[in-house]
Chain length 203, copies 2
């Protein structure tokens, strides 16, 4: 099972690393971080810097495509070459997935048209502009297309995906391996739950 | 606020990236990924490859030290130079923290002696061999030393830490920004919850 994660300047690294840390543990999985140019890729906060394993142009196919988001994703929605690459990889993939505003890259590539989908809560209008119907769920399965909400939702998405690919027991084993027994100290993880004062800090 | 995250061959990347993605959003924070040798650092699964920002020897001080774990951490517990570096950085830091088996590196450096601490569920005996008292909690605060359980627990730890450093509202805003409203599709994130069949897959 080859998992390809496109990486690009300005990505939100947890979008990529959450699913990676889950999917890499599926027996036989190989995870490839691929960029559209050679050289290091810098996250939107400046660090960390990832060295991709491959050029996207050299990746002939994958079983699972995981598209992360981040401020860099929004600006790449107008990159026709990247959109074409995502369409090509998605066409051959068993599963096409996104995390956070990675959904905007799928949308810009025409891969969410007519589908229910989710994204980061701040990107709902842009998502719908691509012909998707925003669905305020943590993970949305639509046939072979799976979208996750913001950043940390990629972990939940990947576990659900492993359940489909390799069975519930394997997914549970991976959940145990990464000790994913979340106990957030606060309860502000969605716009519906966060107090106004916290929202104001992001405005 | 300077956050230093030591990185080393064979680390579990989510141990580092979970806290990073939270702490980087504290106003004024600078996160530095530092290694003890120049050049790329490979995760224990082979990918991804990180390019550190600095050499540990060149980091004169930090406010928050975050030590990740992974198979590579266990083997570095016998590295006296790394232990000395962790002691030096911890001595000047306001907060010394670990995720997963990063606690073994703190323990090997003598930084957990006589303290309650947590780590990945698979590393309890090694942790106690360093004179710490294992405490089966997700996050354990002991004065200025904070340990988190396995891998994904670093997110909870970092949010709790931001609550102490920058206040609850800031922590809630960051939780909202990373949409950390966890909804694991299964309930197998700890040895007490995981079914035996899942545990057997890890044995």
């Amino acid at each position: 099972m080859r998992v390809v994660i496109p990486v690009f300047e300005g990505l939100t690294v947890l979008d990529a690393i959450g699913p990676y840390e889950v999917l890499r543990m599926v027996p036989g999985a190989e995870v490839v971080f691929a960029a559209d140019a050679a050289g290091p890729v810098r996250a939107h906060s400046g660090t960390p810097v990832l060295l991709p394993d491959a050029l996207l142009a050299d990746v002939d196919a994958c079983d699972v495509l995981v598209v992360p988001g981040g401020p860099g994703a929004r600006s790449r929605t107008r990159d026709a070459a990247l959109s074409a690459t995502l369409r090509r990889l998605s066409a051959g993939a068993e599963w096409t997935t996104s995390v956070c505003t990675g959904a905007l890259l799928l949308g810009a590539a025409g891969l969410l048209t007519g589908l229910r989908a989710t994204t980061h809560w701040s990107a709902v209008d842009q998502l719908e502009a691509y012909g998707a119907t925003y669905t305020p769920e943590r993970v949305v399965f639509q046939g072979r297309t799976v979208t996750a909400a913001g950043v940390s939702a990629g972990i939940d998405m990947a576990l659900a995906l492993v359940g489909r690919i390799a069975g519930r027991t394997r997914a549970e084993a991976i959940q145990l391996a990464i000790e994913y027994d979340p106990q957030p100290p606060f309860d502000a993880g969605s716009p519906a739950k966060a107090p106004q004062a916290a929202k104001d800090l992001l405005a």
